[in-house]
Amino acid sequence: MHRLPKEVGSWIYNFFYNEHSIAYVKIDAQLCIAAKGGNVKHYGLSSLRIGKPVTDQLEFMEGLLPCPELPYHMAMVELPSGRVADLHLFADDDCVWLLFLDATAERDNKQRLQQKAYEMTLLQERERQLNEKLQSTNEALRKSQEGLSREYQRAESLLLNILPASIAERLKAHKKIADNHAEVSVLFADIVGFTERARSVGAVTTLAILNYFFKAADRLSERYGCEKIKTIGDCVMVVAGLPTARSDHAKALAHYAVELRKAVKRERFAGEPIRLRIGIHSGPIVAGVIGKRRFAYDLWGETVNLASRIQTSAEPDEIRISDATYQLLGPKFACDPLGETELRGAGRVRMWRLPA
């Protein structure tokens, strides 16, 4: 320090000794502590013992000595005491000096800045990740929405094949469906001699015949505004006047019956044209949906039972109607009277035959 003025020398001494709490440890060739001094207390090093191995007492020196690249500097080392020091190692003959210069404030300062910078970088990385994830999620969502809407349309069209549209809407809204309909007409129709013919032509042909019959029933339902409620074996049940009421339900169903009879005759079953027995009756019924998973829209009531009885009593090719239906048809339909006939479970019933 002899080349510096006294004032500068004393300032430097003050700077290191007071501001940076300088301390030193002298290490001998045997790697034992030879001396210590300065502000050792500041670093919690007061208990260092002279003459004992340095690595036992200063763990961070493990592996560092002997060091081929002296002087050696390690910046901002946090010691077990919590103090942060810049460490300087330099050689002098066969001794190594280890200097401690407090850097706690600098470290804290740098940490604050570094922390902000890293947090910013992390946020940007996270934002990028989330954006990527969002994009792929959106894409997947769009695809599954497309799939769903396809499925929905399929389910919708299946449902409409089974149920009248207004009933399907209410069912989807989870409403209970059991409605009284005061005035409807109910038709039953089945194929004459079905069982015997089915036996003679085999299952595949029989199925084709049934398919032809029921498709015709569906097609005509649409044309005459009737609802095909169900099929039972070779029998079909059709109603007019619901779900929306109509005053001409009997007429609609009468036309329907005539057309159905005409339509099926075009197809041959075991060598002969298909012939039907058809029965119609009019009156009040209850309509509703029963079942949950394999639900069915169906009709109940005496009107339904009697319509079925009338159908069973009809002759081949005959459309037999009850007196109630006859009254509703009016004078334009010139029907043949059949008189009163005893029907099982219904007593004597007055019936009419619709002309060909």
Binding site: T55, D56, E59, F60, E62, G63, L64, C67, E69, Y72, M74, A75, M76, V77, E78, L79, P80, V84, A103, R107, K110, Q111, Q114, Q115, A117, Y118, E119, T121, L122, E125, Q129
Partner: protein, 164 residues
């Protein structure tokens, strides 16, 4: 006294400090506090027939790998390479750091930790990638400093490797 210097290496915010805290003090803090410079901790590990004191050098993870001070690793006998499993780029960072250390001081034992295994929904490293590294004979652990999962296993494995 058996004493070994071990260096924690990896990119920033991968969990080096948290892993040391979990291993040494069995605690975890959600608060991210970046390490500047070096933090030194010690933990005794009892192995069959011996006890070794691991001197753990928790080195600052650098954003810019180039600014990493290789000289801090002088005297180390083993490395803990730490990767953040939720940030794929940190794997390359850890491997580069290892290369730089080996170029300076030669090969030394290491364990590779894929940390933050508790953040499964944000995981970015594929199983096949990890399997490929295992094929190289590397000691690999999926760790969570938060839950402590596999943290002790990884350090104990390294302790036995550096005392062989």
């Amino acid at each position: 006294m058996l004493q070994k210097k071990i260096c924690m290496l990896g990119g920033f915010s991968v969990g080096k400090t948290s892993l040391v805290r979990r291993f040494v003090q069995s605690i975890f803090s959600e608060t991210y506090l970046t390490t500047v410079g070096v933090k030194i901790d010690k933990k005794s590990v009892a192995l069959p027939g011996k006890t070794v004191d691991l001197i753990l050098w928790d080195l600052a993870g650098e954003d810019d790998i180039g600014s990493f001070r290789v000289s801090h690793v002088r005297g180390a006998t083993g490395l803990v390479l730490v990767v953040d499993g939720t940030r794929a780029a940190t794997l390359a960072a850890a491997l580069t750091l290892r290369e730089r250390v080996e170029a300076e001081f030669g090969a030394m034992p290491f364990v590779l930790l894929f940390n933050k295994s508790d953040l499964a929904d944000r995981w970015e490293i594929s199983d096949s990638e990890i399997d490929n590294l295992r094929q190289l004979g590397w000691q690999i652990y999926l760790t969570s400093a938060l839950s402590g999962e596999h943290v002790d296993d990884a350090f104990r494995q390294l302790a036995s490797m550096v005392t062989k």
